[in-house]
Amino acid sequence: MSALTVQRVTKTFGDFTAVSDIDLTVAEDEVLCLLGPSGCGKTTTLRMIAGLESVSQGQILFGGEEVSAKPAQHRNVAMAFQFYALYPDLTVGENLIFPLAAEGLSKAETQERLDGIADTLHLDSVLQRRPHELSEGEKQRVAVGRCIIRRPNAFLFDEPLSRLDVALREDMRGSIRRILATLNRPTVIVTHDQLEAMTMGDRIAVMRDGRIEQVGTPQDVFDHPANTFVAGFIGTPQMSLLDGRCLDAGETQVTVGTDQMRWTLPASRFADMPRTGEAATVGFRPRAASLTPGGLALGGCRLVLSEHMGAEKLLHFDWHGQAVRVLTQDDAPQIDEICTVYLGDAAPHVFDNNGIRLRMKGDRQ
């Protein structure tokens, strides 16, 4: 088996560029999650891999073989659709074995595969039913089943869990992850839910406006967001991003700050140095901040809103017109109270005037 490669692919619809010059490689035993807000081009990318959408420029390769010109029928790719796309006039059993017709399997083999799938996905009791008689969760399992009954070149999932309720979603997330681990085929999952991407993907590709912003392991993307968009998009609660400028990039120290605040970091930690006088953005995760004195202090934060999130509280502060979020287990101050937020000794993320992350020494790249 072989990897799936997307090479410099662009897709335009008339004047609109849906996907712009993207590169992706998915290894044969790897699950890649395409993550992004709606309209970012992730589904279009998936459909181009599937052969349901033509490629305007660039190439798609399965194990080195170029397939860009082949229609979906001839690509041998399995796909589970967002709205399941179950054949309404076929029973669940017929739906599941539908793709096998093209593989020319014997009756016995077909039956064997069907039994296997029905068993894995607990569909034995509904094989005779028609799609409209199924619950949402069952429909979803049939869609997955119809996908994994094959031995295709690649598996594609379009928002596989978006229509399930929360409990079922968690359950299926685990099941799909387990099943995917046994398949050994390049797999691409499209999702707008970062939790799904984090838990199901070996790697994540974050997309925005038809471009790939960053590709990396879930940990990598979370720890070293490549730019302010990824930083703000990945992680809940959202990272606080404070706009300022680089006041001084010296030999030993780098000072970043605003009129109200200065941040001093040892220059030795920077792999990429910021330039003095240019705009810079500093980011830190709400979990890294606290009201307990220690480390750098942001004085004059006015509490705007306090949200209970079970064991913790998310405090929203207004700091000279910029939003600062703090996740804490302590008691919340009064609304409109002026507090000081401390950043402890956690290193902040620093982004340059284009919003690109300044690499630190020790970053995994």
Binding site: Q57, S68, A69, P71
Partner: protein, 315 residues
């Protein structure tokens, strides 16, 4: 690399029959291929004859004469547009359209309000009201001919009970026009009802519930909730019926045959007479194109409204 992969194999390799089949079977030709038979049929049976008669409308052709037709330019159109009889026919048609469509809107709206609620036997009763528009013009024409018959018609008998005199509605010009209007309105009010009803049932219940909670009066509920939902559909019904009624031929032909005199002769009936009784084929063609012009203007308006409605529904 990407540019030559779209070239049909038939042109790059060999021009065999198989190659041509493959060329035809290419995905980008599938749409046109499937549409072609239908378009071809329409072109041969509808559009080609139309072009022919459009050509004829500039000659002085008569279908019952052998003489070679002479090119007359715009004479036919000029004659028709300056002919008082033609304008009279347009006025007659306009009166029937205005009367009938107006009546359809009133009756149709009333019926729709009546059937917008759920009640026992609704489906069956709705049937009774919906059936007329599915009937043939011939059936309806004959029903009403019987209905209007001065000696044994139900209408004449009922009116006779009050006036004590025999009542022949078809004998006077005004009576005959109302007779046509009544028959047409009877047949097509269900159409208006169907559209208005669709609008009424599309109003989400929660809007009415919200209005009740907000203590809106019945009239305000109607003005602010009901009307916006049915406005577009009423407009469509109005236009669709105007287009259709403008073409009225069958009912007039069957009930009054254009009489008394030419009081109920619509443009369509007049064109028919010109073409098939007087055999002034070219003139009839020209008149037909004048009718077509009006209908196309109305049709474009109709499609424009449909598209706008779709766009609204999508947003």
């Amino acid at each position: 690399m990407t540019s030559d992969m779209h070239l049909p194999p038939a042109f790059t390799t060999q021009r065999s029959a198989r190659g041509i089949l493959q060329w035809l079977n290419a995905p980008e030709r599938r749409g046109p291929l499937l549409v072609a038979p239908a378009i071809l049929t329409l072109f041969l049976v509808n559009i080609l004859p139309l072009l022919w008669s459009f050509g004829l409308s500039f000659f002085n052709y008569r279908a019952n004469r052998q003489a070679a037709p002479r090119f007359d330019g715009l004479d036919n159109y000029g004659d028709l547009l300056t002919d008082d009889r033609v304008w009279e026919r347009f006025v007659t048609t306009g009166m029937i359209v205005a009367g009938s469509v107006g009546l359809q809107l009133i009756i149709g709206f009333g019926l729709a309000l009546l059937f917008a609620k759920k009640f026992p036997l609704r489906r069956i009763l709705l049937m009774l009201v919906l059936t007329p528009m599915m009937l043939s013009f011939v059936s309806v024409g004959i029903f009403f001919k019987l209905f209007y018959d001065p000696s044994l018609g139900l209408l004449s008998w009922i009116v006779g009970q009050f006036t004590g005199e025999p009542f022949a509605i078809l004998a006077t010009p005004a009576g005959a026009i109302s007779a046509i209007v009544i028959a047409d309105a009877w047949m097509w009010s269900p159409f208006v009802m169907l559209l208005v009803l669709a609008g009424l049932v599309s109003v989400p219940d929660y809007l009415y519930e919200a209005a009740h909670v907000d203590r809106a009066s019945g009239w305000r509920r109607f003005r602010t909730i009901t009307l916006p939902y049915v406005k577009g559909l009423i407009l469509l019904a109005l236009l669709f019926r105007t287009i259709e009624t403008f073409k009225t031929f069958d009912l007039v032909y069957l009930i009054t045959a254009g009489g008394p005199g030419s009081a109920t002769e619509t443009v369509a009936v007049y064109a028919y007479r010109l073409g098939f009784q007087n055999f002034r084929t070219s003139e009839a063609s020209a008149l037909a194109y004048l009718i077509l012009f009006v209908v196309i203007v109305l049709t474009s308006l109709y499609l424009y409204l449909v598209n706008r409605r779709d766009a609204e529904a999508a947003s």
